[in-house]
């Protein structure tokens, strides 16, 4: 007889009992987990909303377990829902076109209560008033999400090397000039780089493209990647700017330049071209995040409460300056929120030119032939590395 009452003869019997007890225990845990959704919230988001500064006060106030996973591209987040994770997440935070054009028609998100959320639009910056189209369903009847962070996002220059005026006037042709080969970087943000290669090639990214345009896209992608000194993340781009390795980089804007600007490097500046091939002669692209309720069969009641919580002026300011990147928020239309921003913070987010940059930008949209263009760009990048 073993010390614990287990011997060779009764080993299997004991093991079966342990297994049964474990199964019963986990079954109980599962039931508990279901019942505890009132105190649990799961958020799939871009970085910032997952920071302790934003989440901890909400956790304390609601005595809840809040988990947030941050990713840095929209398609991955949306496909996580498509792959069946709608029963995991309560909130999804992605860029503007996805809620209205993709996620709601596919049944991945559910509408918000208009009576609760419409009043918040009264305090938003001009241009984001109710009914803000990217928050609404295509027929305008449903509110599909709330907006907060936004920003122009085209390219960034070191103004000590290329003046703001020159960069705005020359625009995307900076990347067409063979003399600039080896002087620029490319941010590893491949979905946005598809937009930018279209703009460098001289056509609107957000519509179907002819065979000639597709061929021009491939040729431009090859040229742009061959001329790049470095392809990397935001930290690498800003470090390369500060060290003098590069003079400008695409894709970029307030979102990517703000960490360096907040560190005092005000010569690093997001640029929106004065002209471009998009409707209205626009040359820049801007993003607006929309946060929506996931169509979770067991949606946490805290999801809606969290969306209300982040509308608060102080929380909005925290979201704008949460860890990672710094961005303007639509809630800055409320003086109580705006006065929380220090002059240095306003400088970091290029408040002085924000209005005109947004006016010169088209809003991020779905590229109908994105898959084809991305494959061409990936091949161009690979071939540039082999040449």
């Amino acid at each position: 007889m073993g010390r614990n009452g287990i011997n060779r003869r009764n080993f299997m019997q004991q093991s079966a009992m342990f297994a049964a007890a474990f199964a019963a225990g986990s079954g109980g845990m599962f039931r508990q987990a279901q019942a505890a959704r009132e105190k649990e919230l799961n958020i799939l988001c871009w970085e910032g909303y997952n920071s302790a500064e934003v989440l901890d006060p909400f956790r304390t106030e609601m005595d809840a377990t809040v988990k947030a996973e941050s990713l840095t591209n929209d398609p991955t987040m949306i496909n996580r829902l498509r792959a069946g994770e709608t029963n995991v997440w309560d909130l999804i935070n992605v860029n503007n076109p996805w809620a209205r054009k993709i996620m709601y028609p596919e049944g991945l998100i559910k509408p918000l209560d208009k009576a609760t959320f419409e009043p918040y639009f009264a305090n938003m910056l001009p241009g984001f008033e109710w009914p803000y189209p990217w928050c609404m369903s295509e027929d305008g009847s449903e509110l599909l999400g709330m907006i907060q962070r936004f920003g122009p996002y085209s390219f960034v220059v070191n103004t000590d090397k290329v003046s703001r005026a020159t960069a705005e006037d020359v625009g995307w042709d900076l990347f067409n000039d063979p003399a600039n080969a080896g002087k620029y970087g490319i941010l590893e943000s491949d979905d946005w780089n598809v937009f930018d290669i279209c703009l460098i090639a001289g056509f609107d990214p957000f519509r179907d493209h002819t065979d000639d345009e597709v061929a021009k896209f491939a040729e431009t992608a090859s040229k742009v990647f061959k001329g790049a000194k470095v392809v990397g993340d935001i930290a690498t781009m800003n470090q390369a700017f500060v060290a003098g390795e590069i003079d400008f980089h695409m894709t970029g804007g307030v979102y990517s330049a703000s960490p360096a600007r907040a560190d005092g490097f005000l010569n690093i500046r997001g640029i929106t071209p004065n002209k471009g091939p998009m409707p209205g002669g626009k040359g820049g692209v801007a993003w607006i995040e929309v946060t929506s309720l996931v169509n979770n069969p067991e949606l946490s009641p805290l999801a809606s409460k969290f969306l209300e919580y982040v509308q608060d002026p102080e929380v909005s300011h925290t979201v704008a300056f949460a860890e990672g990147t710094f961005n303007p928020v639509t809630q800055m239309g409320d003086p109580k929120c705006f006065e929380l921003f220090t002059p240095d913070e306003l400088e970091a987010i290029q408040w002085d030119s924000l209005g005109e940059e947004m006016a010169k930008s088209a809003e991020y949209d779905i590229v109908p032939d994105y898959d084809k263009l991305l494959d061409l760009m990936t091949a161009a990048k690979r071939e540039a590395s082999g040449g």
Partner: protein, 283 residues
């Protein structure tokens, strides 16, 4: 009696077998099945197809594959030359300092690979630790070597040092002192002792270190991204793009399966030519 023992053994091993099936075989099987699903689908319900493999063979993926295999092979060769003398020193020369030297190689492993690579980025970047110091101290204004292919190789050699060094140390420590002494007594020169006694007897360590380093280095991605500024696109990066921006999970799965097959075949080829059991003295 023996039959009964086998049954009891199998039962006892069943938790481990179950764990391996769920934790290792199932994900692998999922990847293999996924590689035959139609492009840009997200479930296992599609009509099986070879389309993903055709896409790979029709594309320029071979460039990434060659970069990965080539850089992994170069890393192994360079590390063999760097690590052999260090391992020799650890076993035979450094004496009580060996522990300290070993610690110097082990401690960096406690820091994330990305953090260490960003440290090197700050070291090598223009006006950084190296070039900035040379400029301010000696007035030398040298070109940065960052974002080049050479620095990618440097990064890989740096990151994979322990995976070559420690198997080699073990291999060299397995060489009995008596064999060296006997060789010297029989009139062998230092070089002959090394070439004809120490090197052949320490080969198991070199082989294991080389295999380990090669398999890990073929999947390297961070060095090319952080230090190389993506001047080369290794195969692991292609796989990452397929699973993220392209959202083409079946293509990513097919690339992964191909990489596993190629690396598996290369490893088997080496193992067939080199009998590790014999080298390790088990037969």
């Amino acid at each position: 009696m023996s039959e009964r023992r086998i049954t009891a053994g199998a039962w006892s091993a069943s938790p481990v077998i179950l764990f391996l099936l769920i934790g290792f075989a199932a994900p692998l099987a999922a990847i293999i099945v996924f590689s035959f699903m139609p492009p840009r689908t997200f479930g296992f319900g599609g009509q099986p197809t070879f389309e993903n493999y055709v896409t790979i063979f029709e594309s320029t993926t071979y460039i990434s594959l060659l970069w990965s295999l080539g850089f992994a092979a170069m890393t192994v060769v360079i590390l063999a030359f760097i690590c052999y003398p260090v391992a020799y020193g650890l076993v035979r020369v450094f004496g009580r300092w060996s522990t300290l030297v070993t610690l110097l190689f082990v401690i960096p492993l406690f820091v994330s690979e990305n953090v260490r690579l960003y440290g090197w980025l700050l070291f090598f970047i223009k006006n950084g630790v190296l070039l900035g110091s040379l400029k301010s101290m000696f007035g030398l204004d040298l070109e940065s070597i960052l974002f080049t292919r050479g620095i990618v190789l440097f990064g890989m050699v740096y990151v994979y040092i322990p995976f070559m060094l420690f198997p080699l140390t073990l291999g060299i420590s397995m060489v009995p002192n008596e064999t060296r002494e006997a060789a010297r007594d029989l009139g062998a020169t230092r070089w002959q002792v090394f070439r004809e006694v120490e090197l052949p007897l320490s080969l198991p360590g070199l082989m294991i270190g080389s295999l380990l380093t090669f398999v890990l280095a073929v999947g390297a991605i961070a060095e090319a991204k952080v230090l190389g500024g993506q001047q080369i696109i290794p195969i692991a990066h292609d796989i990452e793009i397929a699973f993220t921006y392209a959202q083409n999970w079946p293509l990513g799965a097919a690339l992964s399966v191909l990489l596993m097959l190629i690396v598996g075949a290369l490893v088997l080829l080496v193992l067939r030519r080199v009998d590790l059991d014999r080298l390790l003295g088990r037969r």
